[in-house]
């Protein structure tokens, strides 16, 4: 196995892929958004229960490759309890990691996704859940749908 591939499929990712956290519908959700990766067909729905401006509860559901599922799973553990601006900041960091491959030391498990940068076609897989979560936070307290646009 090549070094790039080992970098991509880190233990953290394999673990989240095998035992996804917060997976399934959230019965108490008051926000939801659906993300679609038109390039490869990956899908991800994110359910939120917002409490004021904070995410009180979160879950995700969908299908796709190990990268997209692990990323959505890990994301749910990282943004729970956060406000929209805090999530935006985290997403910015995450986006930098997957596009540049540079993970600042202080960054939690998100750094495991640094290997994605060597596989540009997979960047959208890694960001799919994040896009859905951000859309869900922006959405009205009712189901909505979003499709990722052409340019990431």
């Amino acid at each position: 196995m090549s070094a790039d591939l080992t970098e991509l499929y880190q233990q953290v990712i394999l673990d989240h892929n095998r035992r996804p956290r917060n997976r399934g519908k959230l019965p108490t959700a008051n926000r939801v958004a659906h993300g679609d990766n038109p390039t490869c067909g990956d899908q991800c729905s994110v359910y939120l229960r917002m409490d004021g401006d904070r995410i009180a509860e979160i879950s995700f559901d969908g299908s796709g490759c190990a990268i997209s599922q692990a990323s959505a799973s890990l994301m749910t553990t990282q943004i729970k309890g956060k406000t929209a601006p805090e999530v935006q900041t985290l997403y910015k960091n995450f986006h930098d990691i997957v596009t540049t491959g540079n993970a600042p030391e202080e960054i939690s498990d998100l750094g495991a996704f640094a290997g994605v940068h060597a596989f540009p076609a997979r960047i959208k897989c890694a960001t799919l859940g994040w896009h859905a979560a951000i859309e869900a936070m922006k959405s009205d307290p009712m189901p909505t749908t979003t499709t990722e646009s052409h340019v990431d």
């Binding site: 591939l5 991509l8 499929y9 067909g41 990956d42 490759c65 990268i67 599922q69 596989f119």
Partner: protein, 412 residues
């Protein structure tokens, strides 16, 4: 028997390394590679003959016109059409089917009519019929596929029931791009004709792989793409029986397809011009004719036999992998040169990514067959699709690569 090493020498692209490994191209269901002769034809055209074909009386234009119309005649021969005028150049299968769905559909479909298709169609032979049915008030009905893995083929008993006199058109694929199923196309055409339904064959996966005779099949319309039969991208064909084409209104309009235009009105040329508005894709049409030469020199019967050997070999060897689910016809049954499979624990995209590291080009996903995937309870499959330059050794390398991958993901 095909001389595979000699054939491989004809395809420049095969002789490269990917991630330090020799390329093993098993994505022929998506698009085939091109032999030197086809590439040379493009170069020759642009270096010697390039000119617009319409109404040109100078030397280059006459040469380009002769070559373009010669390609039409060549392709007519390739599918045994009665008349070169039955060959309409399009961008590919998708455009060909859209042309029929719109022109024929608009003229002939009305509320109460039924358009029949099957559950195993590519989106390109499904969504256009949804649109045509919606536009006309007709109903779209599907012939079911049998078996939990789609291994039972289309339900012929159901077909008998479904083919009522309300059915105005029956559109079906010759070979399924996901299951590998070879449909009994002649039988389907015969049954459809018995109720007066027009037939549309999606020959995208079959045209470059098996002998193909539109008259023996009794088909009304046939759609295919050049890029899957060793031809260039951007060119394809709609075959239509002359009697049907002559009644059909054009789809696109503009230069080259009109005989008389005033500020108020326009009159159409006969087929094929009527259906080829604008400057045609001359270079690629001509190169498609060369692809026909190439395939016929080898023999499509031999290519089909080679495909079948590889498919059998792949079925046998893939079945030894832990946790694999192979879809489509069971081992031993007729199947074209492609095999789709899935592992419950490993997503197709991860498999394709791992295979790529070993130089293998596979396709993973829904293969433009979303409803079929849903019916079979799959989010996608990995597909290995073979062609005339593939070998059994490549299948061994495929199986070895897959074995490493599923092991990595903990499948035992």
């Amino acid at each position: 028997m095909l001389d595979i090493q000699k054939i491989r020498a004809d395809f420049p692209i095969l002789h490269q390394q990917v991630h330090g490994k020799p390329l093993i191209y098993l994505d022929n269901g998506a698009t085939s590679q091109k032999p030197r002769a086809v590439i040379d034809s493009l170069v020759h055209y642009y270096e010697r003959d390039n000119s617009n074909v319409h109404r040109g009386l100078h030397a280059l234009s006459m040469r380009a016109t002769d070559a373009y119309e010669g390609a039409r005649t060549r392709i007519a021969k390739f599918i045994h059409a009665a008349d070169p005028a039955e060959i309409i150049f399009t961008r590919g299968t998708t455009e060909s089917i859209n042309l029929v769905a719109r022109s024929w559909g608009h003229a002939h479909l009305k509320p109460g009519d039924i358009v029949l298709t099957t559950e195993i169609e590519h989106h390109s032979n499904l969504v256009p019929w949804q649109q045509a049915a919606r536009a006309s008030g007709a109903t779209l009905t599907y012939v079911p596929v049998l078996g939990a893995d789609g291994e039972g083929g289309l339900d012929l008993a159901a077909l008998d029931r479904l083919l009522t006199p309300q059915v105005k058109l029956f559109a079906f694929t010759h070979i399924s791009n996901t299951l590998g199923t070879v449909n009994p196309a002649a039988e389907f055409c015969r049954r459809a004709r018995a109720v007066g339904a027009v037939t549309v064959i999606d020959a995208a996966q079959s045209i470059g792989h098996t002998p193909f005779d539109v008259q023996a099949l009794g088909a009304d319309f046939v759609a295919f793409s050049g890029h899957k039969m060793c031809g260039p991208t951007g060119i394809g064909v709609l075959y239509g029986r002359r009697a049907l084409l002559d009644q059909l209104a054009p789809d696109e309009t503009g230069g080259g397809m009109v005989s008389q235009v005033t500020y108020d009105d326009a009159r159409w040329k006969p087929a094929p011009e009527r259906f080829e508005a604008g400057t045609p894709n001359m270079a690629d049409a001509i190169a498609l004719g060369v692809a026909c030469d190439y395939l016929d020199a080898l023999g499509r019967d031999r290519i089909a036999a080679h495909d079948a050997v590889l498919a059998q070999c792949a079925m046998a060897k893939l079945s030894t992998l832990p946790g694999i689910r192979i879809i489509g016809p069971r081992a031993g049954a007729e199947r074209s040169g492609l095999v789709s499979f899935a592992f419950a624990e490993v997503h197709a995209h991860d498999i394709v990514t791992f295979a790529d590291e070993d130089g293998l080009a596979l396709r993973g996903g829904h293969h433009c067959n979303q409803p079929l995937m849903r019916k079979l309870g799959l989010t996608g499959t990995t597909r290995a699709s073979f062609y005339l330059y593939n070998t059994e050794e490549e299948i061994d390398l495929l199986v070895a690569s897959l074995r490493r991958t599923v092991k990595f993901f903990g499948v035992t």
